[in-house]
């Protein structure tokens, strides 16, 4: 686990995120700041907005950004079918980057997206996870093998991305959730539970309750 105050190697943007992680701001503000690529502290005025409305606002911003270039993104997704999965993975990582890859992921056929993801390095998939709206890519998330979920979760934990992990919990299969929980130590598990995104179904609740009892 990374120690407090330790310098993060990933660059200035994530450096800012690490400040936000310990800022005490509402998780919804941190999530909104991710979407807008802003430092969460710059949006601290949103603390005045009731939490329920803040959640609705984030959904509206998500919709506005994910729908903003829907036509272009859909055409890119369609064109990618002409290319081998390895090349699409390489283009995703080297040319489109995590934000656009996250936008396109939910527009691909799930099996194809899973095949492409299998060819991407874990660190990049963690980058994509930060940018992804899990509701728009739940079929893709469900298709990622549990062992890969373990690796991505371990990477997100290493980065202190509890908010990101909290967004995904409700979208994991039982097997994937077990794998993800394996990757988390007790402290990371507690921090993730604090920012977990509802709704989660009864199966997920049972798995989480079991882990809580093991504390």
């Amino acid at each position: 686990m990374r120690r407090e105050g330790e310098i993060r190697p990933e660059g200035p943007v994530r450096g800012k995120r690490s400040i936000a992680r310990e800022s005490g701001l509402q998780p919804e503000i941190v999530k909104l700041a991710r979407l807008l690529h802003r430092d969460p502290e710059q949006l601290s005025y949103l603390e005045q907005v009731p939490p329920g409305d803040l959640g609705l606002l984030r959904e509206q911003v998500t919709e506005a950004l994910f729908n903003a270039h829907d036509g272009t993104l859909r055409r890119l997704a369609a064109a990618s079918r002409l290319l081998p999965a390895g090349l699409v993975a390489s283009l995703g990582q080297g040319t489109f980057g995590p934000m656009l890859s996250a936008r396109i992921a939910g527009l691909l056929e799930a099996d194809r997206a899973v095949e492409i993801a299998a060819k991407m390095p874990t660190a990049f998939l963690a980058d994509v996870a930060v940018e992804l709206d899990p509701r728009r890519a739940s079929a893709v998330i469900a298709g990622i093998p549990p062992e890969r979920i373990f690796e991505i979760t371990a990477e997100l934990e290493r980065r202190g991305e509890y908010v990101t992990m909290g967004r995904f919990v409700g979208h994991l299969s039982d097997a994937a959730l077990h794998a993800a929980l394996e990757a988390l130590d007790d402290e990371a598990f507690s921090k993730t539970m604090f920012v977990i995104e509802e709704p989660v179904d009864d199966g997920v609740r049972r798995v989480l309750a079991k882990r809580l009892r093991q504390h």
Binding site: H37, Y45, G52, L57, Q60, L73, A79, S90, T95, R103
Partner: protein, 73 residues
């Protein structure tokens, strides 16, 4: 600018009416939020344009025509 006018600016960026709790913000804060959404949209458009252009140069020459046909490039 009045708060109602600032909410209209924000509504335009969102494409819908924001939740009522947003009225707790000042007009300046509302405009900052609207500006952040606009910047994010522009950043996304610029990234998409640049990536599309670069991607075309990385795919096999034979496939460029069919890909361009689909993407409208």
């Amino acid at each position: 600018m009045s708060k109602d006018a600032a909410i209209k600016v924000l509504s335009r960026q969102l494409g819908q009416t924001p939740p009522p709790g947003i009225r707790a913000l000042s007009d300046r804060e509302l405009l900052d939020l609207a500006g952040a959404i606009e910047q994010a949209r522009h950043r996304q458009a610029a990234a998409l344009q640049e990536a599309g252009d670069r991607a075309l140069g990385r795919i096999p020459r034979l496939l460029r025509g069919p890909v361009k046909k689909i993407t409208g490039g």
